[in-house]
Amino acid sequence: MELMPYIVEERKDTGLYNAKLGIWLFLSSEVMLFGALFSSYVLLRTGAAHWPQGSSILNVPMGAFNTVVLIASSVSMVFAWAALKENKFGKFKFNLGITILLALTFLVVKSFEYGAKFEHHMYPKTNTFLAIYFTLTALHALHVIGGIIVNSYFWGPGSKMWQTDPQRFTNRIEIAGIYWHFVDLVWIFLFPVLYLL
């Protein structure tokens, strides 16, 4: 007998299942985490005597490409969830696979960007713009890696749950999706702030 209620079905007064509330709480803390870094950016830039234009240091086409890559991965992620709702497991696997591949693409592009910076002896310690750029994007990249790990688990061994408890598995994909969309959302703000302003 399952002792823990509301893993799958929603509780009446809150209208939520447990993990749904859990992920939004987690994302709340993430908003404060990235928010603190954005606040630091604002303070450091406002007070700086000289602050470079993002486009003079960073590669805008690469950044824009990565933005499109992440948006596409967000779309494929939500399609993966929708496929489970339609009972189309094959479609789910396909879309989740695309999501993971696009996420890896993002990281590959990012590593080219970082590599190019290091080749030109531009490191976090070079100036505060680069310091905050590397910190924000590296923290974001760590979250991308986390998402890849979670999604890969659900694509692989975790997908067995579809056979035994399909509703619960669908909920898990919804939760993983909400996390992944948040990762995309952070980049939606990171890109213009760092690259375009």
């Binding site: 209208g15 908003v31 303070l43 450091l44 805008v60 824009a64 499109v68 939500v78 709702k85």
Partner: protein, 104 residues
């Protein structure tokens, strides 16, 4: 809780719509950045577009538009605290007497 397939097909159509909008807005935001307005205008433009894109992702991909009141209440507080943190830190910079600076 399995909803009807018609429901899902409608949602999928919406997702394609959002995807298209996001792509267009990305092009717009990059395009605008080449137009070299002043910094203040650039910030407003970039943040406005980012907010629209972010809202689309949040409302449709993250299903926020049909979410429960409790989640809205919690997120409301989060937005308030985030803005307080950013604005009060920023404001304290300008409150320094006689040309002193926080950052050097």
């Amino acid at each position: 809780m399995m909803r009807g397939t018609h429901d899902i097909k409608q949602k999928i159509r919406k997702y394609w719509g959002v995807f298209t909008a996001l792509l267009i807005l990305t092009v717009v935001t990059v395009g605008i950045s080449y137009l070299k307005f002043g910094l203040a205008a650039a910030i407003i433009a970039a943040l406005t577009i980012a907010l629209i894109k972010g809202s689309l992702i949040a409302c449709f991909f993250m299903h926020l538009i049909s979410e429960r009141k409790l989640v809205y209440v919690i997120l409301g507080f989060v937005v308030f605290f985030f803005l307080s943190m950013m604005l009060l830190i920023y404001a304290s910079y300008f409150s320094l007497p006689g040309g002193a600076t926080y950052v050097s």
